[in-house]
């Protein structure tokens, strides 16, 4: 186990910045002042309390700690974390927070993080502190400046704020050295974003001590002020970056901010310098195992992981996506708590759906202790919804039922994604709006919400939203994406393209904007531009099958079928269950006149769409394509079934009618053919095909003999009372009216309910559909 940092010591990659928070240095300075000092400290604290604030109401004694000037530290999130790890009850009892916040109005007075730990808990924490201080350190996110770190047992001192609060005792500020006092001052100022104060004090501290940690904190202040160059210079002067991992990390961050990526890469290193260390450390001994587990309880994010993440980000900025992907994966493998890296991996489509799921399998969530389950499930929710739907749902159920987290944004987000992928736009909108009423501009929800609005062409809402977004967040990609989508909706491609471009400029990793940009070209028929835009997108988002799919579509529309096939296969490899891909594959084989294969793919696509709303454009176009395929295969009965199914529920379309008319003509059902063709012409009187076929049908009609099979003749028999008894005629008719047989009735109504599901099985559908598909997936 590592020793606590001495003043000049710097944290290693295994630690988080918690190690060098001022209290650490403080701790060693006051190494000797252990518990025996606590009682005086307590009384002192009380005194202070009395002096500084109006006495809190009775029963608020336990809150006295809240009034202490150290509060920022004591009650920083760490304090909460402590109670969390100690007592499950405090975990989900928000009322405590309420009580304390309400009990003393200390919050506003002394610090920003008004939260007090109930004294009982503090007591517990104290006791445990003595035994195993490492339990106290659970800080989860990387907020280097605000945490302190408990040392190992031997050095447990006041330095942990929990100790300070034990038994309602406080750190006595007067007990601290003058430098430490300055450090606290600096730290609190930083916390409260009083950066000038922090800089001022930090400068003084550093001048006094010359401690590299103080230099680091000063650089931190510069960073927060946005004075990156100064921060770099500062660190460079003392060549801190070479000795101090932390400083190196900060320097990397600064360089990224300055967009000096190559320099940043130099600082961070192209590969993980500790990677090799890892292996020896793994087999060095079992005793490191224990130490490791101790280390991992250092609740922060390991610097090594952060560095890897930083490397990934740099690679991303340098468009080196495969290296970036590796770096991110490494980051998350080193420390699962590095959500930043996980987020990059999942939301930026760096991994294919399968890879995402594989990744989560490899991750080790055990270091999260009690939180293992919850975090793991939340991570699962972030994964692609295209595969392993059951597991997503299982995770959802677990979170909703066991943790009551069904109103959490990530939970809702995953819900929305599922709805969207099922083309249930209305419902999706509903859920989105319900959430957005609480958090109007949530960047996770907005992209899907906007796409949804586009799908239902809610121009008015899009208009309002775009305006609000651009007014409030003119620098965000999403704002301009929304504007562009609005223009897409209005079919103003030129404007749409401009804004898509703007959006992707602001955030080059924002996939929807890239795709939208490419779509504008595709819609305008600008083959070359569209192709290059799509292939850029394909390069940027190696984990997404969409760019490849669209590329394939482009090639298909220019009849370059072999290239199209290649791209479709790529897309298919990434995601073999997306009905769109399957549909396009089917269409491609159709064009290649390989109808059997086409049928195979389209049937699969139809199966995949079974869960979808039967009215969705996808389902319809798949059915149409399948119908055409059957037609080509000469299976007219199946083809007719397909087309009839399409007409049952969906919008009327001339081509469908024409094809159906053709099929009836082929199967010699003249009356039906003529009726259907009439309907086609009613929609589009000038349709050449329909007219020709109609004339053909009518000509056949003239030639048809008026024998006993002619419907007219049969009909007149029917009407003729004398021959009405003719049973054969009747039974023949009967087949036409299925509702008559009682079984027929039930079958029929059943079909009604499941219509969309049953038919696709047998069903076939349409070739000229790529266009519509294009639109529908537009903004996914």
């Amino acid at each position: 186990m590592r020793n606590p940092m001495s003043p000049g010591d710097t944290p290693s990659q295994r630690h988080s910045t918690l190690t060098i928070s001022p209290f650490i240095s403080n701790r060693s300075a006051r190494n000797h002042s252990t518990s025996q000092h606590q009682i005086p400290a307590a009384s002192h604290g009380d005194r202070l309390n009395g002096e500084r604030t109006d006495p809190p109401a009775a029963g608020n004694r336990s809150l006295s700690g809240a009034l202490n000037p150290f509060h920022t530290l004591i009650n920083s999130p760490l304090g909460q974390k402590v109670t969390k790890t100690l007592s499950v009850s405090s975990f989900n009892t928000p009322h405590q927070v309420k009580v304390h916040n309400g009990g003393g109005n200390n919050t506003s007075r002394n610090n920003m993080f008004g939260y007090t730990v109930p004294s009982t808990l503090r007591k517990v924490s104290l006791q445990r502190e003595y035994k195993d201080p490492s339990n106290f350190i659970p800080k989860g996110s990387s907020a280097p400046q605000q945490q302190d770190l408990p040392g190992d047992p031997s050095t447990t001192t006041l330095t942990t704020n929990t100790v300070a609060t034990t038994a309602a005792n406080e750190i006595d500020i007067s007990e601290l050295s003058s430098v430490d006092k300055l450090r606290y001052w600096r730290h609190d100022a930083l916390m409260q974003h009083m950066l000038t104060t922090a800089e001022y004090v930090g400068d003084k501290v550093y001048s006094i001590t010359g401690d590299p940690n103080d230099a680091f904190w000063l650089a931190q202040v510069y960073y927060n002020k946005g004075e990156y160059i100064r921060a770099i210079n500062y660190m460079a002067i003392d060549s801190l970056d070479s000795v101090n991992v932390m400083c190196r990390y900060l320097m990397g961050l600064c360089l990224i901010e300055l967009q000096r990526y190559d320099d940043a890469l130099d600082v961070v290193g192209e590969t993980n310098p500790y990677a090799s260390e890892e292996i020896p450390s793994a087999h060095i001994s079992e005793d490191t195992e224990t130490s490791r587990s101790q280390e991992t309880t250092d609740g922060g994010v390991k610097l090594e992981s952060s560095l890897c993440f930083l490397r990934g980000k740099i690679f991303c900025a340098l468009n080196n996506f495969s290296s970036a992907k590796d770096a991110f994966k490494e980051a998350i493998a080193i420390d699962v708590k590095n959500f930043e890296a996980f987020n990059e991996l999942t939301s930026k489509s760096l991994l294919t759906p399968q890879q995402e799921w594989d990744l989560i399998e490899t991750l080790d969530f055990s270091i999260l202790d009690d939180n293992e389950d919850i975090i793991k499930n939340f991570y699962v929710l972030r994964l692609s919804k295209l595969i392993n739907k059951e597991r997503t749902e299982a995770a959802q159920r677990l979170l909703a039922e066991e943790y009551n987290l069904d109103s959490n944004v990530d939970y809702i987000h995953s819900n929305i994604e599922i709805l969207f992928s099922q083309c249930k736009f209305g419902e999706c909108l509903h859920v989105c709006e319900a959430y957005l009423s609480k958090d109007e501009f949530n960047p996770k929800i907005l992209p899907i919400y906007i796409s949804c609005l586009y799908e239902v062409s809610a121009k008015n809402k899009l208009f309002l939203l775009s305006h609000q977004l651009t007014e409030k967040f003119p620098k965000k990609a999403i704002s301009w994406f929304s504007v562009a989508t609005y223009y897409m909706c209005m079919s103003k491609l030129q404007e749409a393209r401009t804004f898509f471009a703007k959006s992707s400029m602001l955030d080059p990793t924002f996939a929807p904007a890239w795709l939208g940009f490419a779509h504008t070209y595709a819609l305008e028929g600008e083959q070359d531009q569209a192709l290059s835009a799509y292939s850029t997108a394909a390069r940027f988002f190696p984990g997404s099958h969409l760019p490849n799919l669209f590329l394939g579509m482009q090639y298909m529309s220019s009849n370059t079928l072999s290239l199209a096939e290649e791209y479709f296969t790529l897309a298919y490899d990434i995601c073999d269950r997306d009905p769109l891909v399957l549909n396009e594959m089917g269409v491609m084989y159709y064009k290649k006149e390989d109808y059997e294969k086409s049928k195979k793919f389209l049937k699969r696509a139809a199966e995949e769409t079974r869960e979808l709303d039967s009215n969705s454009k996808t389902a319809i176009s798949i059915q149409t394509n399948l119908g055409h395929t059957y037609k080509k295969l000469g299976d007219y009965e199946h083809a007719i079934k397909c087309f009839k199914y399409i007409l049952e529920d969906s919008e009327r379309d001339v081509d469908t009618y024409c094809t159906l008319g053709f099929l009836y003509l082929k199967t010699n059902q003249l009356q039906k053919a003529v009726d259907i063709l009439h309907r086609a012409l009613a929609i589009e009187p000038s349709n050449q095909n329909a007219n020709e076929m109609l004339v053909r049908a009518l000509e056949l009609n003239v030639a048809k003999e008026l024998d006993s099979d002619h419907p007219l003749v049969m009909n007149s028999y029917e009407m003729n009372p004398l021959k009405n008894r003719d049973n054969t005629a009747l039974s023949r008719k009967r087949t036409l009216m299925p509702f008559l047989q009682s079984s027929g009735l039930s079958k029929r109504s059943k079909r009604n309910e499941h219509g969309p599901i049953e038919s696709p099985l047998e069903g076939p559908s349409k070739v000229p559909s790529t266009e519509t598909n294009n639109e529908m997936m537009d903004l996914e």
């Binding site: 209305g426 909108l429 609005l453 239902v456 062409s457 809610a458 121009k459 008015n460 809402k461 709303d613 039967s614 009215n615 049952e648 529920d649 969906s650 919008e651 009327r652 003529v674 009439h678 086609a680 012409l681 009613a682 929609i683 589009e684 009187p685 000038s686 349709n687 329909a690 007219n691 109609l694 004339v695 009518l698 000509e699 009609n701 003239v702 030639a703 003999e705 008026l706 419907p711 007219l712 009909n715 007149s716 029917e718 009407m719 003729n720 009372p721 008719k733 009967r734 036409l736 009216m737 299925p738 509702f739 008559l740 009682s742 009735l745 029929r748 109504s749 009604n752 309910e753």
Partner: protein, 639 residues
């Protein structure tokens, strides 16, 4: 005689009918099916005066039932448990208290036609009847919006018929832009700017999902009936008639006293053969699942079933149907002697069988009993038009426009009036007005088509007829009109098809077969033409017509070089003329004789030829000239 038993059985039925009608009048108006409610109430009003002393509670509800307004007051009072039909018991019509309050709210919104608001407030409702109101409002809102956008087309689009004329021949079969638009609109998705999409398909889907979830057994039967009814309406509107049919049947099995549902069911039947099938189905398979009043819960006794059969027989007639019709009608009239609907049905039946004076008398009677009832009066005006009673027609037109100028019936009557005065333009204007008021009026479309024919505007006429058959495929007049209009345009391929359609609907009408035969003749398909002529002959009852048919048939035989058959027909022609003592001397008989004369001459039977030629005294100068020549030649030859 059969006396008491029959009497008491009838009384029992009467009682059931009364309860059923009463209940439906109240419930259906509660759930906003006003037309059905009106029909029920009207029927109730027309019931025979025999008072049934069941119990006091019953008679008290009788009074209440007269006005829907009082019904509503009545709802608040717990209805007496004695009435078995009272499935809706309790103060809140079987709703919970909060649902009932919601219902009151929605009900007023609905009455104020604020459909979107209804939908909004009902979005969380779960009760089947409330759910019905939600979907119904949704549908009405959609309907209103689409209609608002199509009405403009109808108003502005129509006048420039000229552009329509310019459509090339090719386009004729299809319809003009007008239809184009409305078709698309009516099928289309109506997207409001806020992204709320409504379309039939979407509403239908929601409805299906809801019905699927609903526990069929525990749910209120009225609610189920309403929901299935709405499903049927939506399906029908989508053109999915067979599914609509089963939905209506389902609805009716839960609740028979819903007249519009029966009407919609009727609307789903497009072919005559289907009508007999549905009758069979109703007789054999129909099960009433809802709780109807006693005596009405068996299909044989159910009065609504009788009403439906009546309407069906009126719409589809085949031989024998007339007798059945009048049999049912009489039975119903015993129960409901004062029900105007029954009278008008019988008038329409008479009109269908071209028995105009009887029909007129009945309408006169209706007119006296219920002078402000405008329904079906447009048919009355048709009768007057056909009978050329122009002054009476003028009076009627004046009268109805005083009653209500903005009823589709009124507009049709006025249009007929103008048509009778040969003011076809004005007539068309009024028909158009009628159609704005009720776009589903087939007869208005058909009549407008006739007007266009009068104006020699075949294209516009075709358009009108087409709209008529789009709405009601059973309108044989429109099909026939289509055929004729295309005939004028020399597009016999098309007219043949339409004549076939008309003939399918009216297989026992000579005119249909004759038209078909002529069409086949023009298309040079003589075999079929002959076949059709033969059929027409079978159906013909008029010797004058027979001559014509025989001659035409002979002509066709000649074309296929079947001279023997041709000759036979020509002979029959002549024989007919002879048998009628020369009262049937028509062009055809002259021609037949001439043909025979020529034929015999060619066969060297100069004596016969001479005889035939000699008898020719009428006809065109050419024919007479030719006859004379033949006669002269024959004389020379056999001399």
């Amino acid at each position: 005689m059969q006396g008491d038993t029959l009497e008491s059985a009838q009384l029992k039925i009467l009682e059931g009918v009364k309860l059923g009608l009463r209940r439906s009048a109240r419930e259906l108006s509660q759930w906003k099916l006003y037309k059905s409610a009106k029909w029920s109430a009207e029927a109730l009003h027309g019931l025979t005066n025999v008072t049934i002393d069941t119990n006091a509670a019953d008679s008290s509800t009788t009074q209440d039932n007269d006005s829907p307004l009082r019904n509503r007051i009545n709802m608040a009072i717990p209805s007496s448990p004695q009435v078995p039909a009272e499935q809706v018991s309790g103060p809140y019509m079987g709703l919970t208290e909060s649902e009932y309050d919601l219902y009151l709210f929605i009900s007023t919104l609905f009455d104020c036609k604020e459909f979107d608001r209804c939908v909004f407030f009902l979005r969380d409702a779960e009760e089947p009847r409330l759910k019905f109101l939600q979907f119904y409002s949704e549908y009405l809102s959609w309907d209103k919006k689409t209609r608002e956008s199509t009405e403009n087309v109808l108003m502005t689009g129509k006048p420039d018929k000229k552009s329509e004329k310019e459509l090339s021949e090719k386009h004729l079969l299809g319809s003009n832009f007008l239809q184009d638009n409305t078709q698309k609109q009516s099928e289309g998705v109506f997207t409001s700017e806020t992204g709320q999409q409504t379309s039939l398909a979407i509403i239908l889907n929601e409805l299906r999902v809801y019905l699927k979830k609903l526990d069929q057994r525990s749910a209120n039967t009225l609610g189920l009936a309403l929901l299935h009814y709405l499903k049927g309406v939506l399906l029908n509107r989508q053109g999915n008639k067979s599914h609509a049919l089963s939905a209506f049947l389902e609805s009716l099995s839960y609740y028979t006293f819903n007249w519009t549902c029966w009407l919609e069911l009727l609307d789903c039947i497009t072919r005559p053969d289907e009508s007999s099938l549905i009758l069979r189905h109703l007789n054999e398979k129909f099960i009433i699942k809802g709780d109807e009043p006693v005596s009405q819960n068996v299909p044989e006794n159910n009065i609504m079933l009788q009403f439906f059969k009546l309407a069906l027989l009126q719409e589809f007639n085949y031989s024998g149907s007339v007798d059945e019709f009048f049999f049912i009608l009489e039975n119903l009239l015993i129960l409901l002697p004062n029900f105007t609907y029954l009278k008008s049905q019988s008038a329409i039946m008479n009109y269908n069988y071209m028995d105009y004076s009887v029909a007129e008398n009945i309408f006169d009677n209706i007119f006296k009993c219920d002078p402000y009832r405008l329904e079906d009066l447009d048919i009355y005006s048709n009768i007057l038009y056909v009978m050329q009673k122009h002054s009476k027609l003028a009076y009627l037109a004046q009268y109805v426009s005083h009653v209500d100028r903005f009823r589709p019936e009124t507009c049709c009557i006025v249009a007929n009036y103008y048509s009778a005065r040969q003011e076809h333009e004005k007539s068309i204007m009024y028909f158009r007005r009628a159609l704005v008021l009720n776009k589903k009026s087939t007869s208005a479309w058909t009549l407008m088509g006739h007007e266009f024919v009068e104006l020699k505007n075949s294209h516009a006429a075709i358009e009108c007829y087409r709209r008529a058959v789009d709405i009601n495929e059973r309108d044989y007049k429109a099909w026939f009109g289509l055929g004729q209009a295309y005939e004028v345009l020399d597009m016999h391929l098309y007219s043949l098809y339409y004549f076939q359609k008309a003939c399918t609907l009216k297989p026992l009408d000579r005119r249909m077969w004759q038209a078909l035969a002529e069409c086949y003749g023009l298309l040079k398909n003589s075999e079929q033409a002959i076949e059709c002529y033969r059929r027409a002959l079978q159906l013909s009852s008029n010797a004058g017509q027979d001559v014509l048919l025989l001659f035409r048939m002979a002509e066709q035989y000649e074309l296929i070089l079947d001279i023997e058959s041709c000759k036979q027909n020509m002979l029959k022609c002549v024989a007919l003329e002879d048998s009628s003592d020369g009262s049937f001397v028509t062009d055809e008989t002259v021609k037949a004789r001439l043909w025979l004369a020529r034929y015999e001459m060619r066969m060297h039977n100069y004596q016969e030829a001479y005889d035939y030629a000699k008898r020719i005294s009428n006809g065109t100068s050419q024919e007479i000239e030719e006859a004379r020549t033949i006669a002269r030649n024959c004389r020379q030859l056999f001399n």
